[in-house]
Amino acid sequence: MHLASSPASELYWGEFDVTDEDLEFIDDLLLEREVPLTKEEMSRALVAHRLDLLRVEQESRSNIELKTYVPAGEYEVGESLVFRLLDNRIGTVASIREANNPDLPSFDVIRVKFEGSDKPKEFAARFQEHVLNSPGPEAGEIESDVSPEFIQDRYGPPIARMIEARLQESADTVRIAGRWFHNGLVADINEGHLNLAEAILDVAEGGPLPTRSLVEHMELPPGMDPLLTEFSVDFALQEDERFDEVGPAGKILWYLKRLEPKDALQIPLRLVYSPKKYDRERLTDELLDLERSLDDELSELEAPEPAAATEITLPILFPHRKAGTLPLSTRLQPLFPRAYEAPRIRFVLVDGRTGDQFPGWVVRKERYVYGLGNWYSSNSVPAGGLIQITPSETEGEVVLRAMEPRQRNDWIRTATIDKGGNIGFTMLKHPVGTSYDERMIVGQIDEQALDEAWESGEQRKISPERLTVYVFRELAKLNPQGTVHAKSLYSAVNVIRRLPPGPIFAELVTQPYYEPVGDLYWKLNESEWKKA
């Protein structure tokens, strides 16, 4: 295969921009094919089209004897030149002057006017040391005899992104689930059809159902192309607030919004975070490592390198345990279904021990997975309990396992309520149903009283700084050294208020009243606290 490796080709494809003419080509393509296309399919077609144009241009130019511009050349005013690196544009020398540069050997500067452009450009002439002085296919020619597949492999993704960006601005195209189509070809789906779709989904307890299952019962006019029909129905459903597209990437599934779980439509109160400004630069490498290991969906972390999803074991943070959710941290995201556009994805959770299946919801924007409440309760998973998540061999399923599921009575950190209704902490012997992270575990003596104290919201109104000190003191009294581990502090603060590790850890390293004592343990210096 011929490789496109010349600087001209690199420049042409590397700095590719989608022009208005390209957009017209894509418009025609959608109209001619009459099927929805992905950005990759359009990119492939556009690359092939551009290569055709290059071939035609090069053939026609070979019939006209025009001089190719090279920096070493000497030119005359009025002379026409071909500029290979500028998309083979033809320009005329308008004037010539002596260059001003004491660091270089003497050379000329030619001012060139291009066809169809008012803005002249200047180029070097009589300039010996330049790569363009050795032209030929390697340096100056854009290769047109390469395969579209080669160009697509090498430059396809940015070209596809540019096409999509241009189509988003266009009123003539519509998109659903990663496919684009010409607006004018979308079939009319009327209110009656949509009401039927609602009834079908109602009977299916909300869904999820693929478009085909809906189309079968929607009494659409016969003779329509099946793919066009499905796309038109998808588009109509997408534009109607009653329906929600909940399929993973590449699969369109519909659900009735009013029958979706409330906590999948709206973030559970326990998970709501009011962002707090803090100096992230102050966090030490150890604290950043700890943050990465905590799988908090609110942490500002780099996405890990794409890799095959594998099993992950994590302790469940108190608010997630209460809300029946999982954090969709950057590490966990690859284990769950993804989507191009759908804000929520319905999928199947499988209990790895019993094989029981139940619905789960990936809520993309707020980064959590909903649907584990009953499973946590039936497996007696405590806050801080360890669970393992693995991808299933079946697409659209994710397997959960409670680690070492057996009842035990252990001395653990337990949330209590004092006479004033404040949440505090003590050590108590408490039944636990799984193995757990000792620094993250939080037992509950009276769950109802704890919920009432939390709902009253009094402690949640305390500033994060004071709340951190309050919780620190509560934890410090549970051991004779009076020290608290950063992870325990993070876990316990989250019993009262949702905060990611960053702002809590920043308190530890920025406030003078916290003294590090090693291994991520801190001590409260009361005299410094009083001064503060």
Partner: protein, 143 residues
Amino acid sequence: MSTAVPPSLVRPTLETAFHIDYEWWDRSDRDLHVYLRSHLCREHQEIYAEIDPKAQVDHVDLQTAEVTVLGRIEHILISHCAQQDDYLTPQTSLVNGVFRAFLANGNAPLRPEELAKRIGRPARMILRTLSGPRIYKGIRPAH
């Protein structure tokens, strides 16, 4: 002295192209030439006193041979210093690396992923650094 500039209403993303905003240097009363000097190679550092920092020269683009008028220091940086092996090394700080990458390409706007390839740092780290409230060395979104 005020270095405040109107903040962009749109948060930069991985698709945002950045460049050096030379007007930022003017507005902030910082001496660009002094800073540019720190990016010169050893050979040109030694003869710096002979270079008139205000002199303008015809600079020839290394790829296209297009001529643009540039400050002489920038011309030397682009045509000579940026071609040296030690211009960008793993030890170059992120902000200096980004600045040097823009000097080397004639300040053509680049997205974080393009910068990442040039300076060997993760694109998201570059984006995070350049999209904070503080403007480093005049590096800002190009539009």
